[in-house]
Symmetry: C2
Subunit: 401 residues, 2 copies
């Protein structure tokens, strides 16, 4: 399906007693070119991608977007990996969203086209870098939420002899953007007058809706948020300015926003991996959100066993993003409780665990929040049935500029 594996080389069995560190280091450096790496060989903490689950998630979202006749431009801030962006495009996506110019540059270097930068080009050198990107990839879409910035973008484009596709970033999530309605119309008029900007349409990412718990509540919230965005589109069009594109949606609202008339494109990100943060929001058919499978885990090792009820693993604040209220969750040991143990460790409470743990044992943990967790690693290991099929470089890791 999404084609991240290396099926041709999977026939060789793992060496009976595994490889030496020197051998593993070389296999990782060579991108597992001969396909002999197994999950048991990897140094921990390691970021694992379950390829079966990933491919099923991609297929489901692609089918949904196609079925509801919306374009799909998944948000690449989630995975920061050019190989994943390109596999999504092979499956049917029209491009990839990114937030920052440095991220966009990394994806462009990796051969990803159809980029939408979801944050405005404000700040030292950002417009200069946008010009370089726009020249290299004229299909890139930039957002603006301010008339002066639109003017600056236009002037830079004119000086460079190019045109920028721009979308109006609407304030629908209490973060960035211009107010819906009249202020947005005024900005559309300003853009329309600028010869080196071409108005693509509207971006309205409703971050406040994506994690509303309960499907009906979430639906209500997203309708409340996206209706003014859609109305802003109609308002602009009614005033004679072309505005045929509206990008919204998230992993939490993909099947809500795709039924709202006027939204033409979906930009979900987390669906490829899933995390606890989304598992808890509730699905269309039940209290747990299981539209997509948990594909992303962190593999950790038990490195200390101070007592029968306690163990420590080698994965802490530097191995998991910590921005949610809950910690990681052990994939295969029911009742095991992970408590933060500082920068480098997790403290496991085994009081209610289904079984005891051994020193040196390795466990997979589902992550609280996928995007900033991925940003902590240089690579993901694509795995299937215990074998490492692919090593996926996280090309835009750390690129927040």
């Amino acid at each position: 399906m999404a084609g991240l594996g290396a099926p041709a080389v999977l026939k060789s069995a793992a060496a009976p007693r595994g490889y030496s560190w020197g051998e593993v280091e070389k296999m990782i450096a060579r991108g597992n070119a001969d396909g002999r790496l197994t999950v048991d060989d990897l140094p921990t903490p390691a970021l694992l991608l379950d390829l079966d689950a990933f491919e099923s998630n991609v297929e489901k979202m692609v089918r949904h977007a196609a079925g509801s006749k919306r374009a799909l431009r998944p948000h690449a801030k989630t995975h920061k990996c050019a190989q994943i962006a390109k596999s999504l495009m092979r499956a049917g996506a029209v491009g990839a969203c990114v937030v920052k110019i440095s991220e966009a540059e990394a994806f462009a270097r990796g051969g990803v086209t159809g980029l939408l930068l979801t944050s405005a080009m404000v700040g030292r050198h950002r417009i200069e870098r946008a010009v370089a990107l726009g020249r290299k990839q004229p299909d890139t879409i930039f957002v603006v939420d301010n008339a002066q910035n639109a003017q600056d973008m236009n002037d830079a484009a004119r000086a460079a002899g190019i045109k920028f596709h721009v979308a109006i970033d609407l304030l629908v999530a209490n973060r960035t953007g211009i107010q819906t309605g009249e202020p947005a119309l005024e900005l559309a008029r300003a853009i329309d007058k600028l010869p080196n900007l071409k108005l693509k349409g509207i971006q309205a990412y409703a971050g406040g809706s994506s994690h509303v718990v309960g499907f009906e509540e979430r639906k209500k919230h997203s309708h409340g948020t996206m209706t003014p965005a859609v109305e802003t589109r109609w308002l602009i069009e009614k005033n004679g300015i072309e505005c045929g594109w509206l990008s919204g949606g998230s992993t939490g609202t993909y099947n809500i926003d795709s039924e709202i008339d006027g939204i033409t494109e979906l930009q979900p990100g987390s669906f490829i991996f899933m995390d606890i943060d989304y598992n808890v929001i509730g699905g269309k058919d039940g209290p747990e959100y299981r539209d997509f499978r948990n594909a992303l885990t962190v593999l950790a090792t038990v490195i200390s066993k101070p007592s029968r009820e306690a163990a420590a693993v080698d994965a802490g604040f530097k191995a998991f993003a910590t921005d949610r209220k809950f910690g990681p969750s052990a994939k295969d040991v029911p009742g095991l409780r992970y408590n933060w143990g500082g920068d480098e460790h997790g403290r496991l409470d085994l009081t209610q665990a289904s079984r005891d743990l051994k020193l040196g044992e390795r466990l997979e943990f589902i992550v609280p929040h996928c995007d900033p967790t991925v940003n902590l690693y240089d690579r993901m290991f694509g795995v299937r049935a215990g074998k490492v099929e692919s090593i996926l470089p996280i090309d835009a890791r750390g690129m927040s500029q």
Copy 2:
């Protein structure tokens, strides 16, 4: 002092209107070799190190350790930067602590000696990697908290024809380690019988004490925690086993543990940078802990200004560690409140701010927790009076394995 700057090249003034992005990119890639970069040139978010504050912090800690006749082996998990570790050693430190073997390897590559690995070598390939490091740098100290692991370390050292210096990791922070008293004595006896291990002493990092609010409460807590560790040392020595070394202390307890008889070495980390997490614990002389200066900040840009009271900056979960209850704090705008705005943004509440902000304006934020924040960046910019004096690669960034 600590010597991170490049004083000889500071005479050239910044170009009147700054450099192009192409020029800045080259200057960063070349490590600011000609010293022309200014803070205003940097892409944001950027990690800044105030060199005056850093040097003052180093000087103060070095003087304190020398005055109290304790060795100083600062924890390098805080900075992950070989240049900083070496500057601390030039100032008087005996080496550097690290947590993981991959971190140790990075520092060894960077020329740092006197390494103490504060976490046990348990898990796939860790002992094999420890052998390679021990062979290259025989002064490296490893910790053990388990007899079988000690036996495994010994067997590997014997097979390699080397000896390991090992310290017993004591359970004083509810995380890793062996129980104090008899269990530790038993482990000391086991180590003493192993021909390829040499018992260095005891490591007792009281993570639970370091952030106790209020100096007297913290002192009481640390005494309560460290007394069993010191008694364990005496118990081992009384039983005829040499145990002349005990490493403890933190930025919160450096001036408490240095007065406890029997503790020979301090391993504080955060003092070089300081963060809000330590600012709030209270000092010896007042309600605020100001023993060390805030040297580390994240520089961010205002990229959206949706209303008079609100602004958005380009630094969110991927620019700051989020493991504490509080968010970043603006260094120079009293009353400004930073609220998390997701992976890539901060939402600024200007209701109580001392002044308004402009689009494109740049602000420095003191970080909630320094160690995991540093781990998000590839480099730190050492600055003095608005000039970038040095670019410090974060060599062990992401090395949690």
